[in-house]
């Protein structure tokens, strides 16, 4: 009986997919993803049907459980795909961002950009059935605001983090660093936090349980390192526009500290250091957001200690992360935004109320957008425009489309 329930549930998912296939897709990749998910569920249905014929109740139960789990996994993805067709999105971004994603991650990459109903840019981590797909969600109210598009660079960073194996490489280094930190600098604190652990300082770290004890700190430090790496990828891809977009999105900062997220002050300090390292002129309004105090809500002593260990571990990793992000972009041949080109766009095009043309990269356009947004002379340069901010967004979106047209029609 329950097997029949499973088949009906899978059929219901397949029916939804069938309905979704009839919507207008702004680009093929959403449809391709849908077809992949459909094949996956058709196979799950076939597996259940086969298991029913096998006379093995265990096999049947496991197959049905697998189908149930997969429904939980894929339903949000189907919603994501549906929202990628929302007319409120800026479909113009797809071509240029896809080109950038392929340069960074490989020629086979497929990209879906959607609008999220969580107020945070988001990416789904690689899913085996959607291998080579990068799914980037921008918060719905901002999904057509080109000024926040540089945040997509951060999301590309998450995929790169996994594709490049940085996650695997950095894990042991972080754990070892935490052990050494405890041994060298935090021993008294460690003993006070874990009074029941009778460990000898000289042999601390040799026993597998030592690693288990610091597992939360290690896991948080890994997540924090990934976030900082993604910020640095965003910076390296989009230059100052990334910092402006991040500031726009996060200002004035959060009052609550989440252990797996680096402190904003650290994120912005890393970005500041990386500006120097990468040769990017720092924007002026850095200080505001970095000054916000983030407090953990009612942490235990152990949590406080673990977070402190994770934070220190992250501090030790930032130079490495900066180099990793730099090499990833350089190896892919991605250039920094060009200040001369950006000035040229603002002075000779945006100030005359026309979109950019002849640009060498998406980053130049987005940086020109931010420069124009912050330039007080821009609105007086276009006196006939009633809503200057909306006008500028239209100009930037049209510039992105022109960039795509020029790439498609070159040669």
């Amino acid at each position: 009986m329950t097997s029949q329930y499973s088949i009906r549930r899978v059929d219901a998912v397949l029916k939804v997919i069938g309905q979704l296939k009839s919507v207008d897709f702004p680009y093929e990749h959403s449809k391709h993803a849908l077809e992949k998910v459909e094949s996956h569920f058709q196979k799950l249905k076939l597996d259940i049907e086969r298991s029913l014929k096998s006379d093995s109740p265990d096999l049947s139960r496991n197959t049905c459980a697998e189908a149930l789990e997969q429904t939980f996994v894929f339903l949000p993805i189907l919603g994501f795909i549906l929202r990628s067709t929302d007319i409120g999105n800026a479909f113009e971004l797809h071509g240029p961002l896809l080109r950038l994603a392929r340069t960074l991650l490989g020629d086979n990459i497929k990209l879906i950009i959607s609008s999220e109903w969580e107020y945070s840019p988001y990416t789904y981590l690689p899913i085996p059935q959607l291998d080579q797909f990068v799914l980037i969600g921008l918060p719905s109210p901002e999904s057509a605001n080109p000024l926040v598009f540089p945040l997509a660079g951060h999301e590309l960073g998450h995929t790169l983090w996994r594709y490049s194996g940085h996650a695997t490489h950095i894990k042991p280094a972080i754990a070892e660093g935490i052990i050494n930190d405890i041994k060298s600098n935090r021993w008294d604190e460690y003993v006070k936090t874990f009074p029941s652990q009778e460990r000898d300082r000289s042999t601390y770290g040799d026993h597998p349980t030592d690693m288990e004890m610091i597992a939360p700190a290690s896991a948080w430090a890994e997540r924090q390192a990934e976030e900082v790496f993604c910020d640095l990828i965003g910076l390296r891809l989009f230059g100052k526009a990334y910092i402006h977009a991040l500031t726009y999105f996060l200002a004035p900062g959060f009052r609550t500290r989440l252990p797996h997220y680096p402190r904003l002050s650290v994120r912005f300090r890393c970005l500041s250091d990386a500006c120097h390292e990468y040769g990017i002129n720092k924007p002026e309004q850095f200080a505001d957001i970095a000054a916000v105090a983030e407090v953990q809500s009612d942490p235990t002593n152990v949590e406080k200690f673990m977070v402190s260990l994770a934070d220190t571990a992250l501090d030790r990793s930032t130079t490495t992360l900066m180099q990793l992000a730099r090499h990833a972009a350089e190896d892919a041949g991605i250039k920094l935004p060009d200040d001369e080109e950006i000035d040229h766009v603002v002075e000779t095009q945006f100030k005359k109320g026309v979109p950019a043309r002849g640009q060498s990269g998406l980053a130049n356009i987005l940086n020109a957008g931010w420069r124009a947004f912050q330039d007080k002379d821009m609105s007086t340069a276009n006196p006939n425009i009633t809503n200057y901010e909306d006008f500028l967004k239209e100009l930037v979106l049209k510039s992105i489309e022109v960039f795509e047209i020029e790439n498609r029609t070159a040669n």
């Binding site: 007319i87 026309v354 022109v402």
Partner: protein
């Protein structure tokens, strides 16, 4: 006075040097334009369309006391057609499109958009009311209808209409201040009721 294509090409070529230039982006092929012998520049169809939702509204009522803006959003639907895809326009159907090109008019020029005879002879009528005023900047909204008897496929990027440019004389340097300015998608705005019409409608 209508200006010829070679003159338009000259203006477009030096658009970055001028303070008040004529700009068409993406820029047309200037070499081809210069030798075309015509008095217009061809424009292409963009990807965004605005369709009327016939089932949502009984009629268009411009003197409605409700907010016109809200009404327009209720009875229209945006559609995006990607490059390489097509929009099938059935006989006697109507859709608003936009030019692929973003046009910036100098304050001493005006323009008129017309369809192309090659399309008109197939029943596709474009831009029945598109005057482009001095100082306008943005993509032009096109009124597209199929007056023929056979459905017509239209595709973003195809050449669909032509822009004739005229010299606009007068001392006033103010440009177009309408709300049609600065848009990349087709625009449908409410029709304002002026005092003259209001007074005519009042009980005497």
């Amino acid at each position: 006075m209508v200006v010829k294509a070679d003159y338009i090409a000259d203006l477009l070529e030096k658009d970055e040097e001028e303070a008040d230039p004529l700009v068409i982006t993406p820029r047309p092929d200037l070499a081809k334009l210069r030798v075309s012998g015509s008095a217009s520049v061809d424009l292409r169809l963009g990807s965004w369309f605005l369709m009327l939702r016939r089932a949502r509204v009984s009629c268009m009522e411009i003197s409605s006391t409700n907010s016109e803006r809200e009404n327009i959003e209720q009875f229209t639907r945006s559609v995006f057609i990607r490059f390489g895809d097509e929009f099938v326009l059935h006989p006697r159907s109507f859709v608003l499109g936009a030019t692929l090109e973003w046009i910036r008019m100098p304050t001493n020029m005006a323009g008129i958009v017309t369809g192309k005879s090659s399309w008109g002879r197939r029943g596709l009528i474009i831009a029945t009311a598109t005057g482009v005023h001095p100082g306008f900047t943005g993509c032009l909204t096109l009124e597209i209808t199929n007056l023929g008897e056979i459905p017509i496929k239209i595709r973003p990027g195809m050449s669909i209409c032509q822009l004739f440019l005229h010299r606009a004389e007068g001392a006033d340097q103010t440009g177009d201040t309408s709300l049609y300015n600065g848009k990349r998608r087709p625009v449908l705005l409410s029709i304002p009721i002026d005092n003259f019409s209001k007074k005519l409608s009042e009980d005497s």
